[in-house]
């Protein structure tokens, strides 16, 4: 009796000790449990390990994109060049590797280079030319689309090397798709960068107030460029992984990842204006979005209904997380 009440007491104390950042993350994970619960009511196989692992696999791609998007959003910007950077990187992999395992590393390198270059250009434009990221990354997306269409001749070439397919689909430890391990590695990297490194602290500082950060000696231009470069690399990685998942590259494959990546970051508790948010929240956000989409498609809800529910969920969670202060305060 005493031990259970002690447990409740410490739980209670922990819950109340959370700051707003952490509370959002907790709510996000509770939301995951709620969705799984709701889904299993509708379809008992929902809570089965097989299905959940499949969801985790699908969430890995969104998770990579959302990780990069989070870096950029934390600095107070946004990256709208996600879809075509992903696409071009994927196209690079298939057209250079051309289905041969020996050339895979070359293709991957080319894909990563795409992400690096796009990210660099985005970062330079935002940091030095002071072009608002909303419009710069938008224009960049259009340009990368143009490059991709020109390069592929409106039809993608080549197929995915077997090795890449294996990396994505192979199941270790009796069921866990190895792409989830890739996502875990990415997450570890992002967690260390954001929460345990100087660059991370600077990213939060720049997002909170760039002027103060700059006056405090933070080289804010470099921080901005780093954030966009990381985002570009993440998008490229997602594109490369998607090639392994689908077995090929095709134009338009990046389209379903832009808005969900922003939604995942925001649902994970990150402030859209930057400066606050925990990485584990973004992980939860990616999982929530993936689960939501799967649940809605299982419930045979039409695309129309899905869109509506999607929007309502985002609004609902935003209201839960706490809003801005009134202008009088």
């Amino acid at each position: 009796m005493v031990t259970t009440s002690r447990a409740w007491l410490s739980l209670h104390r922990w819950l109340w000790g959370l700051n707003q950042e952490q509370r959002s993350v907790v709510i996000a994970y509770l939301m995951i449990v709620a969705i799984v619960g709701l889904g299993s009511l509708i379809m008992p196989q929902f809570a089965s390990p097989n299905y959940l692992l499949l969801q985790l696999m699908k969430a890995s791609f969104l998770g990579a994109v959302a990780a990069g998007q989070m870096m950029v959003i934390l600095t107070g910007n946004i990256d709208l060049s996600v879809s075509w950077t992903l696409n071009l990187a994927a196209v690079m992999v298939t057209s250079i590797a051309q289905g041969q395992n020996e050339r895979l590393w070359l293709g991957v390198l080319a894909g990563l280079a795409v992400g690096l270059i796009v990210g660099l250009l985005n970062g330079l434009g935002v940091a030095y030319l002071r072009i608002p990221s909303l419009v710069l990354t938008l224009g960049m997306d259009a340009v990368v689309k143009g490059v991709t269409v020109l390069y592929t001749g409106a039809q993608p070439k080549g197929e995915s090397p077997e090795l890449l397919n294996l990396i994505v689909h192979h199941k270790v430890w009796g069921g866990l798709p190895s792409v989830v391990l890739v996502w875990t590695a990415i997450s570890l990297f992002c967690f260390i960068v954001l929460h345990r490194s100087a660059l991370g602290r600077k990213i939060y500082a720049v997002g909170n107030n760039e002027i103060c950060a700059y006056l405090s000696g933070v080289k804010s231009h470099r921080v901005l460029i780093s954030a966009f470069v990381l985002s570009g690399l993440m998008n490229a990685i997602a594109g490369i992984l998607l090639v392994g998942y689908a077995g090929r590259s095709f134009n338009g494959m990046g389209e379903p990842y832009l808005l969900p990546s922003i939604a995942a970051v925001v649902i994970g508790g990150t402030n859209i204006l930057g400066g606050s948010g925990l990485y584990m929240g973004t992980v939860a956000g990616a999982i929530i979005i993936t689960l939501l989409e799967s649940t809605l498609s299982i419930m045979q809800i039409s695309q129309a209904g899905r869109n509506i529910i999607y929007g309502l969920v985002i609004l609902g969670m935003l209201f839960l997380y706490g809003r801005g202060s009134q202008i009088r305060e």
Partner: protein, 333 residues
């Protein structure tokens, strides 16, 4: 002495150009583009081609005007495209043949658009959430409704409706331009000159100062979103006349293109400065580029690249603030 001298006139001109510098650039760009277009397509100055060109840009012009209102308050409306789709699908579903029926449907669709904008505004203002994420969510919701109305393209649009809006008045001036003039004179100008319009600019410029000056900040913001929804619905109605059918995905491109038009036209994304004059030029530039590229005989595969490059360069020039500010600190906001 109250007569104006030539010196006064010169000073007024100088001030006018300095104030409207960015808008001027947008129109110079438009004229240059039209010049290139005329060079490639000698039949540009025929009535038919002028009408077609005007029609091409009109939907975007209207949608971008709405976006301008929101951007002036330092917000953004990502649901412009879906509202265009919603208005298009609603109209194509409800349109009857009779004139009074069509008028009724038009009024209804405009009200729905205004309502959508109202919802956006209320959530942003009273929910105290950021516009970018609120309109992202409502965009999803409105596109869902559009899909519900028209899961597959189709619907009915009376032939005379399409003809009415896409042809010419007195066989001289394209109806679309007349419609634009009507919107500018009877819808935008009263809004712009009213206290609400002034408040919109003030709120975008410095919200706190506007509040402390006694302006109703909340009402101004909501009004901007309502205007955006209304004009987006109007754009959808025009689009319906052009395509004579309903398609739930037709509005998708309008969101990002309207933002591009606003930026091209010299309105600052941070709010408080700019206006529809530049936006109209910006919207036409965006729309005419594709035609110009087509007539220039550029490889169709390279067209998206050129369109993207032009958009990127134009937007960068319009939005880059490095060239306008004095010291490094000022560049950061």
């Amino acid at each position: 002495m109250t007569t104006l001298s030539i010196a006064d006139g010169a000073q007024w001109l100088r001030r006018f150009f300095r104030r409207n510098f960015k808008v001027g650039i947008a129109y110079v760009a438009l004229l240059a583009l039209l010049g290139v277009y005329a060079g490639l397509q000698p039949r540009l100055f025929t009535k038919l081609v002028i009408t077609a060109t005007a029609n091409q840009g009109m939907a975007l012009v209207l949608a971008s005007m709405g976006q301008t209102a929101v951007v002036l308050t330092a917000g953004i409306d990502l649901s412009v495209g879906p509202i265009v789709s919603l208005s298009n699908t609603l109209a194509s579903t409800l349109f009857p043949d009779s004139v009074p029926g069509v008028i009724g449907v038009v009024v209804l669709v405009l009200l729905v658009g205004a309502l959508a904008g109202l919802i956006n505004g209320l959530i942003v203002v009273y929910g105290r959430l950021q516009p970018i994420i609120v309109t992202l969510a409502t965009a999803s919701i409105y596109s869902g409704f559009a899909l519900m109305l028209r899961p597959r393209p189709g619907g009915y649009v009376p032939l005379w409706y399409g003809d009415l809006l896409t042809r010419r008045v007195f066989d001289l001036i394209p109806t679309s331009l007349v419609l634009l003039a009507f919107v500018l004179i009877f819808i935008w100008a009263p809004f712009r000159r009213s206290r609400l319009g002034l408040a919109v600019y003030a709120v975008g410029s410095d919200e706190r100062a506007a509040y402390m000056s006694g302006l109703n900040v909340n009402r101004a913001k909501v009004a901007a979103y309502v205007m955006a929804g209304f004009l987006a619905a109007l754009a959808g109605l025009f689009l319906t006349a052009q395509t004579s059918s309903g398609d739930a995905t037709i509005g998708a491109v309008y969101t990002l293109q309207s933002i591009g038009a606003v930026v091209l036209g010299g309105t600052s994304l941070f709010g408080g400065s700019g206006g529809v004059a530049g936006t109209i030029a910006g919207a036409f530039v965006i729309r005419i580029i594709s035609s110009v590229l087509f007539f220039a005989g550029i490889n169709p595969l390279s067209q998206p690249l050129f369109e993207g490059l032009v958009l990127l360069i134009a937007i960068s020039l319009g939005a880059a603030r490095t060239f306008t500010l004095r010291n490094r600190l000022e560049t950061m906001r």
